[in-house]
Symmetry: C2
Subunit: 355 residues, 2 copies
């Protein structure tokens, strides 16, 4: 099998303790001894055994990341943000996906014991209770876009200002003169989707009572996938009177919808205005370029990691925080605010954190 510290010690003619000391740079070692040991290490290609080490030191230098699905640009960006912050502090990242049934998430959670020092959980579908029950309370956890109701205060949490972003986008579309604004919803059980829906409804309500009566009819269901956006686009075209603007609860669905509209020969934004949510990188490269609510995705990951590092540093005795990251309105061609040459009318309207 693999070479262990004992064999190094044997070869160098010293005890394992001394070898350990030169590896970790702890305690005094004579220069000559150090040289001999280093030589043995190199010659034998010795590499310390991570599991053994973390068994005694009680830390792993690894953080776990739990994601509901490894699909799409959103998650890859989050991971990138996390990995970046993690590596900067000498941590490794253990990524695990799960499909949202309770049994599986419990299994994954338990598998983390002894392998990670902390956890970042991104789970818009599963509530914090399930986590609570399956984790030792000594383990630092940061929740990302996860519903925390009531007792969630035992975890740190970061979430995106979904409500505020949706609200702002709908108001923007209305300001452009649209009165029949449709929404392509996200999945029912997803907390992001619910918040965006809430933002949409409240924006319409804030625009006057007569609109308020209309909105249920202008909501079309979707599940965040491009395909569901495509289906929604087709259903939308059959509605009469046809909506003059469509707000998709994420960019993937907006893209699917755009595709459906184009197939039908409907022009965007001339015939129908379109907007999405997330502002994934390709949004700007579509044509017309897609207006969207910008979410600083990678930054979200970075923030989460920073919070986790902080928890780790204070041995989880720190104050728990619930943080909301603001979103930004990005107006491009697809909602017809100006010309539809993508690059010329891009503008960012910063928004506060009111939510």
């Amino acid at each position: 099998m693999s070479v262990s510290i004992k064999e190094v010690a044997l070869k160098a003619g010293v005890s394992v303790a001394t070898v350990s000391r030169v590896i970790n740079g702890t305690g005094p070692v004579a220069e000559e001894t150090r040289r001999r040991i280093q030589e043995a290490i190199d010659k034998l290609r010795y590499v310390p055994h991570g599991a053994a080490r973390s068994l005694i030191t009680n830390h792993t230098d690894t953080v776990g990341v739990l994601l509901p699905d490894l699909y799409g640009e959103f998650f890859s960006e989050v991971i990138r943000g996390i990995d970046h912050a993690a590596r900067g502090s000498g941590y490794h990242v253990l990524v695990s996906g799960f499909h949202s049934d309770r049994a599986e998430i419990e299994a994954v959670l338990r598998a983390m014991r002894g392998r990670v020092d902390g956890l970042i959980v991104l789970s818009p579908d599963v509530d914090a209770q399930t986590l609570q029950r399956n984790l030792p309370e000594t383990l630092p956890v940061v929740l990302l876009n996860t519903r925390v109701d009531g007792e969630g205060a035992s975890f740190d949490a970061i979430r995106v200002d979904n409500h505020g972003g949706a609200f702002a986008m709908v108001r923007h579309l209305a300001a452009l003169g649209h009165s029949r604004i449709a929404l392509i919803r996200g999945p029912e059980e997803n907390v992001d989707a619910r918040e965006r829906l809430r933002g949409y409804r409240e924006a319409l309500r804030s625009l006057g009572a007569d609109n308020a009566g209309l909105f249920p009819a202008l909501e079309i269901e979707g599940d965040f996938s491009e395909e569901s956006g495509h289906r929604a686009g087709r259903r939308l075209l059959k509605m009469k009177p046809r909506p003059t603007a469509v707000f998709a609860a994420n960019d993937s669905m907006a893209i699917g919808c755009l595709f459906a509209l184009r197939e039908a020969g409907v022009r965007v934004p001339e015939d129908v205005a379109l907007a999405g949510f997330d502002d994934i990188p390709i949004a700007r490269y579509l044509s017309p370029s897609l207006s969207s609510v910008h979410v600083p995705i990678a930054e979200l990951g970075t923030r989460a990691m920073e919070r986790l590092l902080h928890a780790l540093a204070s041995k989880n005795a720190h104050e728990r925080l619930q943080e909301t990251v603001p979103t930004t309105l990005v107006v491009r061609g697809s909602c017809g605010g100006g010309t539809n040459i993508a690059s010329s009318n891009e503008s960012k309207l910063p928004r506060g954190e009111e939510s």
Copy 2:
């Protein structure tokens, strides 16, 4: 600290051995005893300690994935494929990114010792030698799109048929009547980029000697990023005579280039035909939709994981294989093969594995 097997044993009034037997379902245990132990486990919320367990059992049920960068859809797709296959077999995935300098990759490699049972390394930039030197030879490794020269036979390897795909695409463009076909190259040190370049050059050469004299002038450098594609697009517009077709060594650069062309009011495909490589999911949603060389990305990850599982099952005593995954030509609107309504002229031309 966390609750250990000893405390469970104490509470249930049995020895740790019996508790272990209940947990792992090994050996006979009286029904009554089992019940008592299970009760203690539940009450104490006991979860076995992963590191301790893997120290003695000598396996971790975890595979490591090393990626040069966590950026973009390509990598997220690969991870998705790997994770899918891994979970299906009860393995976890430890993802780590690195920036391509040798020191960092060595550090990451060493950190894996004792934490993983096997490794999938995706490293188009770093050669296999460095790996060889920093890994115990008992560790199963699958290389993905990595250069293996000479002695690489000690690792399994999977790679994409870059050469064949590029060759086919250039031939296709030529068949459409283009004679001035430019290439936006990928980074010099990247093995995928090099193979695509080789395919491009050989295709031109195969088309006749007079073309052969031209090609060096029609190569523009890039680095696989959208931004470099954008720059390349601008340089391309200044060339005279202007190329009639552009083949970008990946889709990201094609997108950047498309953007540059559009800014300049140059129509695609009427004025300039455009094609990419990878066929990332958004390719079909651009307008015009992007012709590309399809690479089955997630499948690549899945295959790699399957090979790794096979190696694991045979304790790394299996036969090493070098496999080339075929690519497929996907003709869409951007290269002007027919009309440019995306959905109507999409076609896949299957290709063999000749390379």
